[in-house]
């Protein structure tokens, strides 16, 4: 009997020949990600549980991103809690202002294909872009992992999503994942793994795959995974070993559902307020005036996203009285975008480029809105009240769509 990618990763991790959906197994954790919002709570639980050392300090990565730069005096308490915890237990991988956790985990080489990784943030699903099994957990479970190195998981069923053909020029992987979430529904993949395959997926950059793995959680998925290929190897700076090369869903693997799409059928879309699965094509929404555009987040704040936005905005200006906020996903992305001229183009068009971090996506600063305002944003959630008051309308879109909207001051389709 064949296996899905996730089944292969979990089986190898627990040293079993194979596993099947529904099995409850104890994994040995390869890496954990702790973020700034959760660190004081993780530390408290860790102490309350009575642990005195971290099972493998080098496997822990502590990242400040939600609260960088500080916007409330209390934010500093979280940095201090992080410093104290890292010092006491010997965590050396600490990123204090280098960007968003999910960007850094793969970009800085902490996650490799086939790894089992947990993080205290729901978008930990992102690392499936390099063929890892990764998912978000709460701070209590994180504390338990830090003490024991283990976590139980129920082997998920897998939904296979095949996208063949070629995507149109004005369609980005964001449009693809939004459409899929719309089709699955916000709970359509709950407890399950998404496995992506097909010619269009193979052609995608690791960054584009990241966008899709990142948003799998918005369909309720436990994780999402792509087969590692040469692009993955290059991105991770490794040569794939046999196990990693074999992270392909077997032909005779058991999938609970298979969805097949043709790349050519995709169009630019948006998730409308206030559900991520309320998907409409951009053409249906054209003309709606907007107040702000946000390009950034762990979903769409990477180099290719900023380059795309710069391409759309080259020689244009942001519409009068409209704000464009650009928040690169990491320090490296910022520097690369500066080196290639994308930052210059964006700033000349009128963008405010902020320091890398979660920014507006997590709703604590970075462009908060008020009653009656409408924002087009490239991040992952448009929940009620996420970017200010509950009377703010959030439309999620690709960077190409977002940039086009910024120039027009209203919702429009991008022409690439």
């Amino acid at each position: 009997m064949g296996q899905t990618i996730i089944e292969k990763i979990i089986a190898r991790n627990i040293g079993a020949e194979s596993v099947k959906p529904g099995d409850i197994v104890t994994t040995s954790v390869d890496r954990v990600m702790l973020d700034d919002i959760m660190i004081p709570f993780i530390a408290d639980k860790f102490h309350e549980m009575g642990f005195s050392k971290i099972w493998a300090p080098h496997k822990a990565v502590l990242i400040y991103d939600h609260l960088v730069p500080s916007s409330q005096i209390d934010d500093i308490r979280h940095y201090k809690a992080g410093e104290a915890f890292a010092l006491k237990y010997g965590i050396e991988h600490v990123h204090r202002s280098d960007g968003i956790c999910h960007q850094l985990m793969t970009e800085a080489g902490y996650v490799k294909p086939g790894d089992v990784v947990f993080g205290t943030d729901s978008h930990t699903t992102t690392y499936g872009c390099v063929g890892a099994f990764s998912t978000g957990i709460g701070y209590t479970e994180m504390a338990a992992i830090l003490g024991t190195g283990n976590l139980w998981v129920k082997v998920p069923e897998t939904i296979k999503i095949v996208i063949d053909g070629t995507l149109p020029d004005n369609v980005m992987s964001k449009d693809v994942i939004l459409r899929i979430i719309g089709d699955l529904g916000a709970d359509g993949a709950t407890y399950r793994a998404l496995e992506f395959a097909g010619a269009a997926v193979e052609r995608m950059s690791v960054s584009s795959r990241m966008t899709m793995a990142n948003m799998a959680i918005e369909a309720g998925a436990k994780c999402a995974v792509f087969t590692p290929d040469e692009k993955t190897a290059e991105y991770c700076g490794i040569t794939l070993n046999d196990f990693q090369r074999n992270l392909i869903g077997d032909r005779d693997a058991a999938y609970c559902r298979v969805l097949t799409y043709h790349g050519e059928d995709f169009v630019p879309v948006m998730a409308c307020p206030s559900q991520v699965d309320k998907i409409r094509s951009v053409s249906q929404l054209e003309g709606l005036p907007i107040d702000q555009v946000f390009i950034g987040s762990c979903t769409n704040g990477r180099l290719e996203d900023l380059k795309m936005a710069a391409k759309v905005l080259d020689g244009k200006s942001v519409a009068p009285f409209v704000k464009l906020i650009v928040t690169p996903a990491s320090r490296k992305v910022y520097q690369e975008a500066a080196a290639c001229g994308a930052i210059k183009t964006l700033v000349e068009a009128g963008a405010m480029v902020t320091h890398p971090g979660c920014g507006l996506c997590c709703g604590r600063a970075g462009g908060i809105l008020c009653d009656g305002e409408r924002v087009v944003a490239t991040n992952n959630r448009n929940f009620l009240g996420r970017m200010g008051t509950s009377k703010v309308e959030i439309y999620l879109a690709s960077p190409a769509v977002a940039a086009a909207c910024a120039a027009a001051g209203k919702i429009v389709s991008p022409t690439i």
Binding site: I73, I76, E83, A338, M352, L360, I368, E373
Partner: protein, 418 residues
């Protein structure tokens, strides 16, 4: 009888041949600037307190969103929206996210000889171009907005005769802090600080902005330099023409005169919680810091970023320090980007923010926590200004701030080991 520059500007604005200190005059305002700190209050008063509100001349108004940029709460967002909607409705020049208000005013509006009100205390900055800029509250601004006029009490002028040239590694900020330390935080209350002398000729317009900007920290109503060739060239490069170019008369009356020899100035720092508690920077070396801030309308210009970048280049910011680098405007940012300074800062581990007031204003991104210590190129070090009431702020030059960020404790640039 002779007049000072400030008196001449007021006389022109009042349409009278002569004014003297102590007179009260009605003046025509050349321009009014209001930022997101208070504009929403002015707009509220405009709508709720006036019978038949109208704006005398929208072309004289400039609205600038710079204090909380991008917006960090529904409350600031609502205040900014009110401002944006009002500007849109009345055809007022509106700037958002493009820089700190005084920097934008200098880059795009201020001309020698103008009388300008700004609803912000550091409006005195405009004296760098030989204009009379002064900070007012929102009631004064509202009156100016609807009438185009206001009244001013002609201030006395103090003369600051500058001689010599600043030594290498010493900056206008050290000079101005030294002056404030000497004359005290109330040393120029209600008065004008006029800077002149050979030393003034060694200062660029950007340098002069540093001096004028901090004048309010000595209590001054404003500060002013003569619009000399340096200023006029600067203006010309930006395609603007002066309203009037004034020199103080030989027999002008000064209430007091000081002389400062620039060559004797050394790096200094203002200790918490007073701008006039100024000591040689060496005296505060070794104080452990949590954050360093390079930016503000006082010290966030290209020259300041060049100084900062030259110090952090090839070095790493101390692990326990958050080093905020905040260009004063989009122009400054783009220039810094072009020169590779942004990359140097990013490489060093600094936090490079979009142009805004940042922690100098203290109620926005960059706030510091309980018992934390900040060394800053901002304008003020008042108790609790940068965040938690127990936090402390030291003021120093861009060089001292950048060097301290690397070392993790206050130090001067010459103390950094390679």
């Amino acid at each position: 009888m002779g007049m000072t520059i400030a008196e001449k500007i007021i006389a022109l604005a009042a349409g009278v041949p002569e004014v003297k200190a102590g007179d009260i005059h009605t003046v025509n305002l050349d321009r009014m600037m209001s930022n997101d700190g208070t504009t929403h209050l002015t707009v509220d008063m405009y709508h709720n307190r006036l019978k038949d509100p109208k704006i005398a001349d929208p072309k004289k108004m400039v609205f600038i969103v710079d204090h909380n940029v991008p917006s960090d709460s529904p409350k600031t967002a609502a205040a900014q929206k009110k401002m944006r909607d009002f500007a849109k409705e009345h055809g007022i020049d509106f700037w958002e996210g493009k820089g700190v208000c005084h920097q934008i005013m200098m880059e795009h509006y201020v001309c020698p000889g103008e009388l300008i009100f700004g609803a912000d205390s550091h409006t005195c900055t405009y004296g760098a171009l030989g204009a009379f800029g002064t900070g007012v509250g929102c009631t004064d601004l509202l009156y100016g907005m609807v009438t185009g006029t206001s009244w001013v009490l002609v201030p006395e002028t103090i003369k600051f005769n500058l001689t010599g040239k600043l030594p290498e590694g010493v900056y206008p900020r050290d000079l101005m802090l030294t002056i404030i330390g000497e004359i005290s935080a109330s040393g120029a209350s209600y008065q004008v600080m006029e800077f002149c002398g050979d030393g003034a000729k060694t200062l660029t317009v950007d340098d002069r902005m540093v001096l004028c900007n901090l004048a309010v920290e000595a209590g001054a109503k404003t500060a002013v330099f003569e619009a000399d060739e340096i200023a006029l060239d600067w203006l010309k490069e930006r395609g603007r023409k002066p309203k009037a170019v004034f020199k103080s008369d030989e027999d002008a009356v000064y209430v007091k005169e000081y002389t400062f020899d620039l060559s004797k100035i050394e790096p200094v720092a203002a200790r918490p919680d007073f701008v006039d508690d100024v000591v040689p920077a060496k005296e505060v070396c070794g104080v452990r810091i949590d954050q360093a801030f390079l930016g503000s309308c006082n010290n966030g210009r290209i020259g300041d970023l060049r100084v900062g970048a030259s110090i952090v280049k090839g070095r790493k910011i101390s692990d326990h320090v958050r080093f905020l680098v905040v260009p004063a405007s989009r122009q400054v940012y783009l220039q810094a980007l072009k020169e590779g300074l942004i990359d140097i800062f990013m490489e060093s581990g600094a936090i490079v923010m979009n142009p805004n007031c940042s922690v100098c204003w203290g109620s926005c991104q960059g706030v510091i926590g309980e018992n934390e210590v900040l060394i800053s190129t901002g304008t003020r070090n008042f108790k609790g200004r940068a965040g938690h009431p127990s936090s402390k702020v030291y003021l120093g030059s861009a060089a001292t701030v950048a060097a301290s960020a690397v070392k993790g404790e206050i130090c001067t640039a010459d103390m950094l080991k390679d």
